[in-house]
Structure formats: structure tokens, C-alpha cells
């Protein structure tokens, strides 16, 4: 049963109603929602498990308003009141009883709507798709904690497969790095490049294994080249870095190349300097060419 219009409630525009119906049809085997209503069990023995679940949780608000931007019908407001109508007043015919979504503790936060076998539950699914507490929902209220999350099994499978693919790609890249590339990578990561190659390889593989997406992006990007080049030049005594204001200078003349000031976004000095060399134009390009040529000729003198 679809979310029926009763009086002022659920008077949705045909477009929005169609979207909701399409959304329900995306899940022909039923729709499952995850309610994030547990709290961590403070009991150090965790006797009853890692999490505590309320015995009965009731979703609020039960009646809410949304702004239906698809509404173009004459005389209709865009603001709609949404509710699951349970009954009408005998005399006035106005809706005065409403269903509420309740989740029992024993379900461990999983709310299963078997819309495939029980069409009456379609109404409940449509209601939850409109709810302001649905994470990434059409009408999510960013000021409320998103208690409800749609369990999209296909999406989860897609993401799991993508993660697996990324991991394989990252591990392949990590395994196939030459010794030179390992040193380059270590320098870019601001690691100690004098460490044994085996130890550096281990670090790289751990990184590829734990955060493959970041690893792949980093290897593909130009940042690796710049970060490694800057670190090498510092180690060779070509450049000098003053971390108090992220100031990079030529070591022999003390002539500054760039001072970026204190980091506001949590990025490391190397990352910020690499980004500057990548995007700052002619001045940065000229300095970079010089750094590259000196890097080729100078011998490494120290570690920072």
C-alpha cells in the first residue's frame, strides 16, 4: 500500500510520489534499515556484549514536514506534512491517530520491511525514505543525528568489490616497486630514507594494505614526485625548511623560495609545499627545475 494522502497529510506531488515508488521498486526483495540506536556497553566485562540496545526505541518525530520542490500543482503548498495515519476522528474525519516506527532491542537495530510479501509495508518504507533522520535521505535534516540508514546490499557489495580491487591494485604496485621507487616513496612520506630497503618495503605494503584507495591516488598523483624531490633536496642540503612558518629556502644563500605559514588544514609541510610547486606557476616551475637538476648532482648529506 502506498503512502496514502489523508487530509493535509502526505499530499505529495506526483513527481515526488513517483520517485518514492521507484525507490521502493529498487528493492524487490524487501527493504532493510539499520537504526543506530545502540550505545557502547560501559561494563568492562562486556557481559551483555559490546553494545547496549534500548528495549523499545521509538523513532521521532512521528509527524514531520518536508519541502516538496517538485510541487507545481496550483493551490498546493510546497511544505508537506508526513505521517503514517492510523485512524480518523469519528466526527470530523480528521486524522488523529498515527503509527510510529518502533524498533525492539532484540532486533539489534535492524528494521526489516518485507515489502515483497507484505505490500502494506510499502507505506512504511516510503515514510522512512522521507524521514529527516534518514542518512543521505532526500530530506535529511543535517541538524539531527541520522539515526536511520538504508541497508543497500547491492551498494555494499559494490563497495566491497571496489575496495578489494583497490587493494589488489595497491598491493601489486607496492610489490613491483624498484629500490629507487621505494626510496622515492619513503622520501615523499617523510620517512627515514636511510632505513633498510626491506623495512621501507614493509611500511609501504602496510600502507597499501590498510588504505589502498589513498595509496593508489598518491602513487598516481604528481604529489609523489614533488614530495620526494623536496625531501631529497632537504636531505642533500640543497634546501632548508623552517617548520615554524613552513618556509622553504635555498640552503647556501638563505634566499627564500616560499613561506606558507602555519598549517590550518592538518596537512604536513611536505604536502603543502608539493601542492604549491604543482600549482603556483612560473616561479615555482623555475625553482623546481633547479631543485631537480641539483638533486641529480648533489650527494645526500643528512636526514631531517
Amino acid at each position: 500500500m502506498l503512502l496514502a494522502q489523508v487530509g493535509v497529510y502526505n499530499d505529495l506531488s506526483p513527481e515526488l510520489r513517483k520517485k518514492l515508488q521507484d525507490k521502493v521498486e529498487e528493492y524487490p526483495n524487501g527493504i532493510r534499515f539499520k537504526f543506530h540506536i545502540s550505545s557502547i556497553n560501559p561494563d568492562p566485562t562486556k557481559y551483555n556484549g559490546e553494545y547496549l540496545w534500548p528495549n523499545i526505541y521509538t523513532l521521532d518525530p512521528a509527524i514531520f514536514t518536508i519541502r516538496d520542490e517538485f510541487e507545481k500543482r496550483e493551490g498546493k503548498q510546497k511544505v508537506k506534512q508526513i505521517a503514517l495515519i492510523a485512524g480518523l476522528d469519528d466526527k470530523t474525519g480528521i486524522a488523529n491517530r498515527f503509527h510510529k516506527v518502533k524498533v525492539e532491542g532484540r532486533s539489534r537495530g535492524i528494521y526489516n520491511l518485507d515489502t515483497a510479501n507484505n505490500p502494506e509495508l510499502i507505506e512504511w518504507a516510503m515514510y522512512l525514505f522521507l524521514h529527516p533522520k534518514l542518512k543521505d535521505g532526500m530530506f535529511q535534516d543535517k541538524n539531527r543525528v541520522p539515526v536511520i540508514e538504508l541497508i543497500d546490499e547491492e551498494k555494499e557489495a559494490r563497495e566491497e568489490r571496489r575496495t578489494r580491487r583497490d587493494k589488489k591494485e595497491a598491493m601489486d604496485k607496492a610489490y613491483s616497486m624498484s629500490d629507487y621507487q621505494v626510496k622515492e616513496f619513503a622520501a615523499a612520506m617523510n620517512w627515514d630514507t636511510t632505513e633498510e630497503n626491506e623495512m621501507l618495503r614493509n611500511k609501504i605494503e602496510i600502507m597499501a594494505e590498510t588504505d589502498p584507495t589513498m595509496f593508489n591516488d598518491f602513487v598516481k598523483s604528481g604529489k609523489l614526485k614533488y614530495q620526494a624531490g623536496i625531501k631529497k633536496a632537504i636531505n642533500k642540503g640543497i634546501l632548508k625548511l623552517d617548520p615554524s612558518e613552513c618556509k622553504l629556502s635555498w640552503a647556501n644563500t638563505n634566499q627564500p623560495i616560499i613561506a606558507l605559514g602555519i598549517s590550518q588544514d592538518g596537512k604536513t609541510d611536505l604536502e603543502r609545499l608539493a601542492a604549491w610547486f604543482e600549482s603556483a606557476g612560473d616561479k615555482a616551475d623555475a625553482a623546481w627545475k633547479k631543485i631537480e637538476s641539483l638533486n641529480k648532482s648533489e650527494k645526500e648529506v643528512s636526514q631531517v
Binding site: D43, P44, N48, P54, N96, N117
Partner: protein
């Protein structure tokens, strides 16, 4: 002042410094009324010693379980097979089942085979009515394992092990302090407390009211800390010493985390729908029938208006208790649906600086339903539903500058104490207590927001 001629008038006398008397009422009037507003003795009036700073209690688990059918292999036959979701291994051969399927009204089936999967159990069941009475199953049906039946010379059924559920809360350390110098301690003021014209008694009374208020607030709406005193790397810690701080969960915390937490579909309305809701929630948890309903004035007014039928445009005077010139709009008791409710207005819910409708709207506008009975133990003992647990005072012995009521300890230090403890001319008074709330069998407690 030189002698002058003329009538002695008010301004002439008032011009002479310090000559006019001042009319100052020596009493200090209790306008803040925090003492009255923070009293929760209507809710909690029992203390029980604790031996540790964390206290646990166990409750028994339900002896029955209900399964939900998740897949059906065969249906509409005298012997059918289906799968249920179950977190435990409750079903066993020999169980007699009843289900919610409308085709199974008046029918029972016996479990003949059970195969457990991961979180599932596949059951083969046989209708007790034979071939003439087929049994049905559809996904979503509820299955009750309500009885059992065995053959002659039968072997024992599979043994079930019943677990226990543990509830847990913390003792919280509360402190308050007062400091006064030698000069101000003896300097007199114009108002008095109990005939004492000094500032110290007033300060002391305010501090004690605040401390008792802090305890009340925590017992009502405290949130249990995840940090415990025995944490080696505490999250909630004193920034100087790095030592852990722990807090106790209050009645609201118990209801939200362990009990029933519900609310009216449309806040501001209360009627039979909401009453039915409250009772249905209790029935779902096999709760007792007799309740205290603790609440603030806003909620009480809405309930009274509904029960006196004042919500509509007309007033049905037969429902009002008119005694001479007094209209009594308060409803104190309700019997409905087999349940008894005693409505208790507790002022702390209305406290504007603690639980106002804008500050903590959920607490201010909720009913807290607590069973009136004592909870039974499985061996027929009894315990109060709500008690304050407190640890013994850590302070040793008796002395002239220390006093305690068994729960809160007060001690005085500094050069001005009864027994001077230092050289600095000041009196330093400390209050300390360690308390926590304990609610028993909280599955039967309900928070129901109505406004």
C-alpha cells in the same frame, strides 16, 4: 556642627552621617526556591550501601522466545518446513508451536526436526490435527514455542541453558566547597540565618542546596560515563592529575538505554491512543500493573485536561470535583486497561535552570513511569525498584571539625577550623559524597514524552 536656627526637618537630620536608623528586614527570603524544586524524595527515598564504585545486578531472561519466519520451503500440508531467524538455539524437537498465520487459528504443530544455521533454524513441523488439518507458513509470521508433547517411553528433550542479563551503573563523586577569610567570618551583616548575623551560614546553606540539587539532577538525568575509576587511560579525566572521572546514569538514562522510550506521535496531545501505547509497551515487556507517573506541570496539565474531558469546547461539569468554591482539575489516579496509574507532580521537571521546556524539552515534557511495587527476586525476595547506592565515607575517625550523616561528609580546615589545620586565617569547608542510582528490572520502566 554649629548651632543654627530653624525647624528640625528630615533633611537636616539626614545630612548628619550615620545618624539615621535603617529599617532592614533581617530575614533572607527564599525566592530562588531551589531546595523545593530539586527535591526528588517523591521519586527516590531509599539508600543502600555499596561496597564498590561500580555496582551490577542480574535479571533473569524470558523463558519463552518468539521466532520470525524468514523463508518457507513447504506450506499448506500436514507436515511443512520453514526457516526462522533466531539469535539463540531455542527451538527443539518436541516443542508444540502456534503461529500468527491466520490460516493456523486453532491449530498446533509439533517440531519434528530442527537444523541450526548461522542465526537461523530450519524447522520441520507436523500438524497435530493430521492430514485433515494442514499447517501454513508465510514469511514474517511469528512462531511461539508455547508447549511441548512427547511420546511414550520417550528420551529427554535437548537441554536449554538460560542466561542472565547484567545491568551496571557507577558511583559518582560529588563535591562542594566554601571558603571565608577571618575578617569576613566575624564581620556582621544586616540579615541573619537562625539569629546569626554573619554571611557564613547563608553561604553554607546555598552550597548545601546546590550540592543536593546536583545530586538530584544526576539521579534524574545523569548520563553514565564510559570512563571508570579503574581505567588506565581514561577519556574523562582530571586535566591536572590525569585520574579518571566517572558519572552515574540517572532515571532518564536507564529508561532510554535499558527500558522503554516512546513518545506521542503528535507532541502536545494526549488521549486514549497514547494511553494504549503506554500500556501496550508495558504488555510487550510483561511489566507489572501498578505505576507511579512522575512528571512536570506541563505534562500534568495535558493529562488532566484529557482525563477531565476539557480538551473540547465544552466542559462536562459532571467530571469535575467541585467542592464549594474549589475546582479540582488535577487527576491523581487513573485505572484503565487493567493498569493503575498514580500521577505525581515533581517540581524538578519544571526547574527553569535545569529542565525547562527549552533547555531539556524531552525531560520536561516526559512522563516517567516507574512500577510501584518492589521487584521480586526469583527466590521470592524483594528489593525496592529505585535506590540510591552510596559508598562509605573515606574519611577516618571522628573529630570536632568533621561531621557526616552517613552519606554526605562535611569537614572544615584552615586556621579558623575547630581544630586549626594551617596558618592561613581562613575557614575552608568541604562537602563530599559518592552516590549512584540503581533501578532494578528496568525493562518495566518507561519514558513517554507527550509535549
Amino acid at each position: 556642627m554649629a548651632v543654627t536656627q530653624g525647624t528640625v526637618i528630615k533633611s537636616y537630620v539626614s545630612a548628619i552621617d550615620f545618624l539615621d536608623q535603617r529599617d532592614i528586614d533581617p530575614n533572607i527570603y527564599d525566592q530562588s526556591r531551589d531546595r523545593a524544586f530539586t527535591d526528588i524524595m517523591k521519586i527516590v527515598n531509599r539508600y543502600k550501601p555499596a561496597t564498590m564504585f561500580y555496582y551490577n545486578n542480574f535479571v533473569n531472561n524470558d523463558v519463552y522466545e518468539v521466532g520470525t519466519i524468514s523463508a518457507v520451503s513447504t506450506t499448506g500440508l500436514a507436515q511443512i518446513q520453514f526457516t526462522i531467524n533466531t539469535a539463540s538455539t531455542f527451538p527443539r524437537v518436541g516443542d508444540l508451536i502456534m503461529t500468527s498465520n491466520s490460516n493456523n487459528i486453532g491449530k498446533q504443530a509439533r517440531v519434528q526436526v530442527v537444523t541450526f544455521g548461522s542465526g537461523t533454524a530450519t524447522l520441520t513441523v507436523r500438524s497435530v490435527g493430521g492430514n485433515a488439518v494442514p499447517f501454513y507458513a508465510t514469511v514474517g509470521d511469528s512462531v511461539a514455542f508455547s508447549s511441548n508433547a512427547f511420546a511414550e517411553k520417550s528420551d529427554a528433550p535437548t537441554n536449554r541453558r538460560y542466561g542472565l542479563t547484567k545491568y551496571y551503573n557507577n558511583i559518582q563523586i560529588f563535591r562542594e566547597v566554601d571558603e571565608i577569610s577571618d575578617v569576613q567570618k566575624v564581620a556582621k551583616i544586616e540579615v541573619n540565618v537562625g539569629g546569626d548575623y554573619h554571611i557564613l551560614p547563608y553561604q553554607t546553606i546555598q552550597k548545601v542546596i546546590k550540592m543536593n540539587g546536583d545530586i538530584s539532577v544526576q539521579m534524574l538525568a545523569g548520563s553514565q560515563s564510559s570512563t571508570l575509576f579503574n581505567d588506565a587511560s581514561p577519556f574523562l579525566a582530571d586535566p591536572t592529575s590525569g585520574l579518571p572521572v566517572q558519572t552515574t546514569g540517572g532515571l532518564d538514562w536507564y529508561c532510554i538505554n535499558y527500558g522503554i522510550n516512546d513518545q506521542a506521535a503528535s507532541l502536545g496531545t494526549f488521549g486514549f491512543t497514547e494511553l494504549d501505547d503506554i500500556i501496550d509497551n508495558f504488555i510487550a515487556n510483561k511489566a507489572p500493573l501498578d505505576y507511579f507517573v512522575f512528571m512536570g506541570s506541563r505534562s500534568y496539565r495535558i493529562i488532566s485536561k484529557f482525563l477531565k474531558q476539557l480538551g473540547s469546547s465544552s466542559v462536562d461539569s459532571r467530571r469535575l470535583n467541585v467542592d464549594g468554591k474549589t475546582f479540582d482539575f488535577n487527576v491523581e489516579h487513573l485505572s484503565y486497561g487493567g493498569y493503575e496509574f498514580d500521577f505525581v507532580h515533581v517540581p524538578i521537571f519544571d526547574h527553569p535552570q535545569l529542565f525547562s521546556s527549552t533547555l531539556r524539552a524531552d525531560v520536561n515534557g516526559s512522563l516517567y513511569l516507574v512500577p510501584k511495587d518492589s521487584v521480586d527476586t526469583v527466590d521470592n525476595g524483594r528489593q525496592a525498584r529505585i535506590q540510591i547506592r552510596h559508598t562509605p565515607t573515606p574519611l577516618m575517625g571522628t573529630s570536632a571539625n568533621k561531621s557526616a550523616n552517613g552519606i554526605i561528609t562535611e569537614w572544615r580546615t584552615g586556621a579558623l577550623a575547630e581544630i586549626p589545620t594551617g596558618s592561613v586565617m581562613q575557614l575552608h569547608t568541604d562537602w563530599e559524597t559518592a552516590q549512584g542510582l540503581e533501578c532494578l528490572a528496568v525493562k518495566h520502566f518507561q519514558k513517554y514524552r507527550i509535549v
